[in-house]
């Protein structure tokens, strides 16, 4: 406990939070750690990565989808991100562009090569299965600290790693979850596991993040994310490769017009 208090105190000092650590509530402590996690994520400017998504059904049958992701860091707001689909062949070239916002609803555009048009999509509720997987768009979209309120639960050991167990409550009315429980690696400040609870507060899915890679000595990125649906027993594995950072992309690369020019 002493160590924990010390850590909190140090963190509080470094973040120049005026509230003395001994008076910190569980809510404040949870928020604080997530801010640290977010800070650990920041400063990469932009990134690209390849993604392989493997869907596994109850009987173990697998289907594979491939896509690429591009992200642009935006100061004081949510990131801009783009997903370009490569496989299956029928959807090759389909791309989405998302501006996530901390305050208002996200904006989203979709380019359909078959139509050769960019559509602006307005949908409040993106909690459904993403490409038939166990991931909701909500789960892989940009995770902004402001989208949740937090509560620190306890310090725990997860597979021999000291973690913070923190509960997060979505502030967005149309979220598919009542709460999330995250297990944050105390040392690296990355999430190792998240449990998603559905509207009746029953465990719906468990996300395990692993194979973290340290990029440019700054940002930790998981190379593997596995989502297991506790209710349907289906699962999806999302693997990331070819991470590249600070490639020099700009706002122009993330405009709705740019969607058409992708290849």
């Amino acid at each position: 406990m002493k160590a924990a208090l010390l850590t909190s105190a140090t963190v509080a000092l470094t973040l120049s939070i005026t509230t003395p650590s001994y008076a910190q509530t569980a809510e404040e402590r949870g928020l604080e750690i997530f801010e640290q996690v977010s800070a650990q994520n920041d400063g990469f400017q932009d990134s690209t990565a390849s993604m392989t998504m493997t869907l596994i059904n109850r009987s173990g049958k697998k289907s594979v989808r491939r896509m690429r992701a591009k992200t642009l860091e935006v100061a004081n707001d949510g990131d801009k991100s783009m997903t370009i689909f490569d496989e299956p062949a029928d959807v090759k070239g389909t791309a989405t562009l998302t501006y996530s916002h901390t305050k208002e609803a996200d904006e989203q555009w979709l380019y359909l090569p078959a139509l050769k048009r960019v559509k602006r999509i307005s949908s409040k509720n993106k909690t459904g299965a993403f490409m038939g997987s166990e991931f909701a768009f909500e789960d892989i979209g940009s995770q902004e600290v402001e989208k949740y309120t937090y509560k620190y639960l306890s310090e725990e050991q997860l597979d021999g790693i000291a973690v913070h167990k923190i509960e997060a409550y979505p502030t967005y009315k149309y979220s598919g979850y009542t709460r999330l429980i995250s297990y944050i690696d105390q040392e690296r400040l990355v999430s190792l596991k998240t449990e998603f609870y559905d509207r009746k507060d029953v465990l719906l899915k468990t996300l395990t993040l692993s194979d973290y890679v340290h990029h440019d000595d700054k940002n930790w990125r998981p190379a593997r994310m596995e989502m297991i649906n506790a209710q349907t027993k289906k699962s999806t594995i999302l693997e990331f490769s070819d991470y590249k950072f600070a490639t020099g992309m700009t706002d122009k690369d993330f405009s709705s017009n740019s969607l058409k020019k992708l290849r």
């Binding site: 299956p88 029928d90 389909t94 299965a129 490409m131 909701a136």
Partner: protein
């Protein structure tokens, strides 16, 4: 030997009683392990092809176990602010149902609107309190024009709406789960899960009724049906068993006119039931409505054993024999016949193990056990008990024997007439048997005293039913659901199915495709058609999937690698014949018009459609084996091949005639009938054994003429046969009052068959014996008949 046994038994009578009571209590304690099933799938064996196909479908897509809450506002329209507020609220609250994974209603229906290149995907009804009348009118026209909703979630007249809650229950318990503690096991027990979901829903709907008194609610769905099984069992147990005991008490008092005999019979019956059900508990048998009818059947059969023993005992006592001697003598005379009839009855019931439907294995095994226990109790416990009880036989007052005498005279005098008249009747009714039509409407397995049935009838009538036939359409390639050729075939088939009689609703992915195509083209109605190329369809689907809320995705319609789609047809409640026709018609049409996607129907409806035929075929083997075994026992008991063959007629014909009578009275048979032949065979054979063994004894030991032997047989066993037949018929008539169709049909048909068997044994059999057993067989009359040896007091 039996005399020695009987004497020893009476010497240790108190010990015998004590042992019986202790053993009964010990075994009966297994009753605490008995659990009631609440899964209709138990009616199908693990090898049932329709079950396998259905489980495959469930595995491929989201499961379709559902709860359906129908809402009928008194205002007469679903589309007013108050009702729409209720729909939004109830849709939201329905997510709280335990194990729910999806809730569908007209309010959360994902409506797509297009304005230029902006596409909006949203709930059809949101914040209804803020809506202007025009907006409400718009919602109404959208809902009533949407093929996915009309006659599924909203009636075409807009008067009723429904909330469909899909639940995903835990998988059946595995062997490993038996190692868990009770608390841990209960958490993953699908039966408990289902009951939890149903209890919650009932309470929730009660809450809705309080909150929205102006709306009429009805709950149905597969989950509701499953939970109706244990409830039907419980209702039956509460009404049928007391009724059956009453029949026993009144019957035995009336025929034996002896209170202590009635007490003895009730105890034997009670113990037989306790022992059999206790054993079933120890064996881990799960109770289904058919298996739960076992106590009534055991009760009925056990009475017959007691009556045989008690009739002889009381007769002896009335002939001034001291009580214990009368008991020993009755045991000596009845031990073998009771043993034989118990064996034949048990064989009949055990042959139910050939059935394709596991609940009938359980019924057969439990009753066979019960029959065995009843035998042991009536030759071990009952004599000891009678010896202890202050039984007194009153002076004989009845003139039944003289009645039998007169009847025998009549049979002998009119033998030719009886023979030919009965032969004609027997053949006539038997030929009527195939006129019965198989009909297994699973919803109608429950009669209208069961709330589930009433609710389902109403919901089916006003909105949409539980009769859902599904097609698993395979494009043959990954991503093939976007192939325009495949989609065109599916659409053609969909259009065809819509024209068929009784179809209420067709749910198909093609509707989503047409709608998406229109939305992506600025809501232009000219684009309300299938997309023309494959990437376009695939990209529309990708867009759609990305925009949907949790639990409303397409996994219930498209499989993981997008090679297959599920097309579901909701029908009015249909007879088995109509469903078979539908299946044949659609298959033929697909083979001729869309051979690439031809697929058989599947789902619960399809499973029940084939269950009777499969069972009849599987029971043919079981019934044949039972017939062979029982005939062998008869050959052995009667010591005559000739009489063994003669006995086949009165053993087999009653069941055939029973079906003939049924064809005239009811005309429709269900799954239950497949086991009735084997079951009644073991019972009706008892009459033949009793009658023929007495007849043969008269012929062989006493050298009587066939006429005299017929008279002798009537005099000795006539009354007992009439009494046991009445008791049996009454017992099965009690079962016929069951609220579960399989049990009530089984009960009524067995009762009819037993009565017919007695009529055949009392008319055709003696006449036939007098025809074929001319005095040429007199030489064999000297043969001793050890099985039914000593002369019985007349």
């Amino acid at each position: 030997m039996i005399t020695t046994y009987a004497k020893t038994l009476l010497k240790f009578r108190w010990a015998a009683i004590a042992i019986t009571v202790l053993l009964t209590l010990g075994l009966a304690s297994g009753g605490r392990f008995l659990v009631f099933t609440n899964d209709y799938r138990v009616f199908f064996g693990p090898d049932n092809p329709q079950l396998i196909a259905f489980e495959d479908l469930q595995e491929t897509y989201t499961k379709s176990d559902n709860l359906f809450i129908m809402m009928e506002p008194k205002s007469g329209t679903v589309f007013d602010t108050a009702t729409m507020q209720a729909i939004v609220d109830i849709t939201e609250r329905s997510w709280q149902v335990p194990y729910s994974i999806r809730v569908d209603s007209i309010s959360n229906y994902q409506h797509t609107i297009s304005e230029g290149d902006d596409v909006f995907v949203q709930d059809l009804i949101e914040e209804p309190e803020l809506l202007e009348p025009e907006a409400i009118a718009n919602i109404k026209s959208v809902a009533l024009e949407q093929p996915q909703l009309v006659n599924k979630l909203v009636s075409s007249n807009g008067q009723v709406t429904g909330i469909n809650i899909t639940v995903e229950l835990p998988s059946p318990l595995t062997e490993e789960s038996k190692l868990l503690s009770k608390e841990e096991r209960d958490l993953i027990d699908p039966n408990i899960a289902l009951a939890t979901a149903m209890d919650f829903t009932r309470e929730m709907v009660t809450g809705f009724e309080a909150d929205y008194p102006e709306i009429n609610f009805q709950t149905t769905g597969i989950v509701a049906m499953n939970q109706a099984f244990p409830e039907a069992i419980e209702a039956d147990a509460k009404s049928l068993l007391p009724m059956a005991f009453l029949v026993v008490i009144v019957g035995v008092l009336l025929f034996l006119r002896n209170v202590w005999s009635m007490v003895g019979t009730v105890l034997v019956v009670l113990f037989s039931i306790l022992l059999a059900m206790g054993s079933a508990g120890w064996l881990g048998i799960m109770l289904t409505p058919p298996a739960a009818s076992a106590p009534t059947v055991i009760l009925t059969l056990a009475v017959a054993d007691c009556v045989h023993f008690l009739v002889t005992m009381l007769q002896n006592m009335r002939n001034k024999m001291p009580k214990n001697e009368a008991i020993v003598e009755s045991l000596r005379v009845n031990f073998t016949p009771i043993f034989l009839t118990s064996v034949t009855t048990a064989i009949g019931f055990l042959s139910m193990n050939f059935s394709d439907s596991p609940p009938f294995h359980d019924l057969g095994n439990i009753v066979a056990l019960g029959v065995g226990y009843a035998f042991v109790l009536s030759v071990f416990f009952l004599p000891a008990l009678m010896s202890v009880l202050p039984v007194k036989a009153s002076v004989r007052t009845s003139n039944k024997a003289t009645l039998m005498e007169k009847y025998a005279d009549f049979v002998i005098a009119k033998q030719k007439l009886l023979l030919w008249a009965m032969a004609a009747i027997m053949i006539g009714f038997s030929f009527m048997a195939p006129k019965n039509e198989l009909n297994d409407i699973f919803v109608n397995y429950f009669d209208r005293t069961v709330p589930f049935r009433v609710a389902t009838d109403e919901v089916t009538d006003k909105l949409s039913g539980l009769y859902i036939l599904e097609f698993d359409l395979d494009s043959g390639e990954e991503g093939g659901v976007s192939n325009p050729e495949f989609l065109k075939d599916v659409e053609k088939f969909e259009r065809y199915v819509e024209t068929l009689d009784g179809v209420q609703h067709v749910s198909s992915i093609t509707e989503t495709m047409r709608r998406l195509n229109r939305s992506m083209n600025g809501d232009d109605d000219n684009f309300y058609k299938l997309p023309e190329d494959r990437p376009m369809s695939a990209q529309y689907l990708l867009f759609y999937e990305m925009s949907l809320p949790q639990g409303l995705d397409l996994t219930n319609q498209i499989n993981q690698d997008k090679s297959k789609t599920r097309l579901a047809v909701t029908m009015e409640t249909r007879s088995t014949q109509q469903v078979l026709e539908f299946e044949a018609q659609t298959m033929k049409w697909m083979q001729e018009n869309t051979p690439a996607i031809a697929a058989p129907t599947t789902g619960a409806t399809s499973m029940f459609t084939h269950i009777s035929m499969r069972n009849i075929i599987s029971m043919l083997g079981g019934t044949s084996i039972a017939l062979v075994l029982i005939s062998l026992i008869l050959l052995f008991a009667l010591r005559s091949i000739k009489f063994g063959i003669i006995s086949l007629i009165p053993n087999i014909v009653p069941a055939l005639m029973g079906f003939g009578v049924w064809a005239l009275l009811v005309g429709e048979v269900s799954l239950a009938v497949s086991v009735v032949v084997a079951m009644t065979l073991g019972i009706v054979v008892d009459d033949t054994i009793h009658y023929l063994s007495k007849y043969l004894r008269a012929r062989r030991e006493r050298g009587m003429s066939p006429e005299a032997a017929v008279r002798y047989a009537f005099n000795t066993v006539g009354v007992a046969l009439v009494v046991t037949t009445i008791v049996l018929a009454c017992g099965f008539m009690v079962l016929a009052q069951s609220n579960f169709l399989l049990n009530s049909q089984m009960g009524l048909m067995t009762a009819i068959t037993i009565v017919i068997a007695l009529i055949v044994d009392f008319t055709f059999l003696p006449a036939f014996l007098m025809l074929v057993d001319k005095d040429k067989s007199e030489k064999s009359a000297q043969d001793t008949d050890k099985l039914t040896s000593a002369p019985q007091p007349a």
